[in-house]
Symmetry: C2
Subunit: 382 residues, 2 copies
């Protein structure tokens, strides 16, 4: 089987025969997209056409089908990989991709993230413990105000200072101005931390705001301005934009993927991708070093099991690429951190956004409280 | 209200108070993404923050909320427009965007397609009647074989010769080789048609296959090679990639949008976008001149009402931009064309793909049969 990679689909069907017929339809749909009886003999039929390897019943009306594909149907570019995996099949009723089994061809063409979890330990200097990650916001603030939040949170010990995904390229804080100021603010905080003998440093992740065809230029600008990482929204810019950055020879920063606009791919159990496949496997394949997802019990409705599936996929030993850091967020608070730490462990980026703003100029205290909560110590002054 | 554009959301909620609360949460989520009580006074609260204009009951447990946004929350780039419209809100349970009301700011920044339906009448020379559009496939075929299908269908009177969306940049027919051959084949057919006094011509639409950041270069290459249009998959390359091409000063070809990978945005009634909003309104806003969608009764499960909603949105007089051509496909056959013509009328691109291959070298007969069926004439020889 190693000359083909395979995708497992969850299929709603009336019975096994119906499920087998639907699986065969997927194999056609995502490759040749013509009726079976007119598929040309030879190369197209033998290599290009998807092949149904197995169809198994799972529960009443639900089956799992494994369909294998040859890399020749993909070529070298990520958009066509997704087109084969779930292009037109994404429009079929009752079809959901739930698993991917790579082969050597796929690993070769999409080797995954540059840094992963181990790389981020090295870059931050945080040899153990969860990663503290404040989110800088809201949009509409001036670049100076945002840079001040960057300084205060970095100075107080943040591991990653992440911009809000809504900080794009608006007039209130245009991308280039904002990134230069924020990167400078974090650099100053890191210098002060180093002077105090702190072996860790804060990495400032700039959110790419602009056009899709500017991602590379904006990322290089951010790096040259002092950013230590890039936040990108694959649901808006495309998974390929992220992968291009991860594979760009002249680029050397970690990438954090944000789930904005991707909700419909997971919310219905009958369509799209399984949570772990999208926010774990595919994020890794496309080069994310950190994958942000909405934690259970916050503003979004993911279940604990779905979150655990995402985390398992981020850490799976068989790739794609090295294990990455999951990053649960979406309405978290300091009070929930100890429970989250028990669930997710230390190889995890803990986001805290809007609720930090309640601290005002004392936002540094919140960062220290986050650190203590993750390390199992009482809050300062408690 | 003209200083803001507005988005209408369908919201599942327990009662009106719950719906109002959920609408307020959307307004926060897609702009400032912080708790209401920490939204800074002044510009952020007055301009940037989304504003709930109305919440109305629709049916048991279902409400509609109109939320207005200021262009300052968007800036000038399409990714951030979608981020405001349905970014994080796409991950909320039971929230679906169902309508967009533009304002002058939005029209100014996203003026829509360059050609639209009227432009395609001019480019093809087809002053009346439905547009006949064969789809060239399957992938895995050589560029020579694909070019031969282009020639035969163009020669027989096709209005648009569209590549299959699975023809990317695979080794069997790399993008640049394939496009040069196919464009040359259609040019030859058009020269022969013109020599016979035919006032119409076939437009060859090349499918962009490659990386997202190569879209502009590949499209310019295709134009220079003789392609008369571009097929693009916004669900893989991003809506911004399409819009950039539509607004590119140095580019002057019509764009056809393919729905691959977009299924999950419409399939669940509780999430994503309404069919008409996605495949009509947003395709127009992002610059598509033709919007492909799966016809009811084919391989996909769209209802006739959903298809009619798409067509109405493609033709709505109030934009975005000029009316565009809907293009139903997905398992159509010659037998269904008269019924489709009655439903969709002449301002429509009629796709026929895999079933054409049954004709073999007589594929030209199928094109003539399509023309006759759309014009209400009996088939040749019938």
């Amino acid at each position: 089987m190693s000359d083909r990679f395979s995708v497992t689909y969850r299929i709603r069907a009336e019975d096994l025969a119906d499920a087998e017929s639907r699986a065969a339809a997927i194999a056609l749909e995502d490759t040749v997209e013509i009726p079976r009886d007119v598929v040309p003999k030879g190369y197209v039929e033998d290599v290009i056409l998807g092949r149904v390897d197995a169809v198994l019943p799972r529960e009443a009306g639900v089956f799992e089908a494994r369909v294998s594909y040859h890399i020749d149907a993909v070529g070298r570019e990520l958009p066509q990989f997704l087109n084969v995996m779930l292009g037109n099949a994404s429009i079929l009723q009752g079809v959901r991709a739930i698993g991917l089994t790579q082969n050597a061809d796929l690993r070769d063409r999409f080797p995954g993230p540059r840094f992963g979890a181990a790389g981020l330990r090295r870059l931050t200097g945080r040899s153990q413990g969860g990663f503290v990650c404040p989110v800088i916001k809201p949009q509409g603030s001036s670049a100076e105000d945002l840079a001040r939040l960057c300084y205060l949170t970095a100075r107080a010990g943040a591991d990653i200072v992440k911009e809000d995904h809504g900080l794009a390229n608006q007039d209130a804080a245009p991308f280039r101005d904002r990134v230069a100021l924020c990167a400078g603010a974090v650099r100053r905080a890191n210098e002060e931390r180093a002077a105090e003998g702190d072996a860790t440093r804060a990495l400032y992740f700039a959110n790419i705001g602009g056009h899709g065809d500017q991602v590379r230029d904006l990322a290089l600008y951010a790096r040259d301005a002092g950013a230590a990482g890039i936040l990108l929204i694959p649901g808006l810019f495309g998974f390929d934009a992220m992968n291009r950055l991860a594979q760009e020879p002249g680029f050397d920063l970690p990438i954090m993927a944000h789930p904005s606009h991707l909700g419909p791919y997971v919310l219905s159990p009958d369509h799209g991708y399984a949570h772990g496949l999208l926010f774990g496997t595919l994020m890794r394949l496309a080069g994310a070093d950190i994958s942000v997802f909405p934690n259970h019990g916050g503003r979004f409705g993911f279940s604990q099991a779905q979150c655990e599936e995402i985390v398992a996929a981020c850490r799976a030993e068989d790739g794609p690429g090295p294990a990455i850091l999951p990053s649960p967020g979406g309405g978290m608070s300091l009070d929930r951190l100890p429970d989250m730490m028990r669930l997710y462990g230390e190889d995890c980026v803990y986001l805290l956004g809007g609720s930090l703003l309640r601290y005002g100029d004392r936002i540094g205290d919140a960062i220290r409280d986050m650190r203590n909560a993750l390390d199992g110590r009482p809050r300062d002054g408690a």
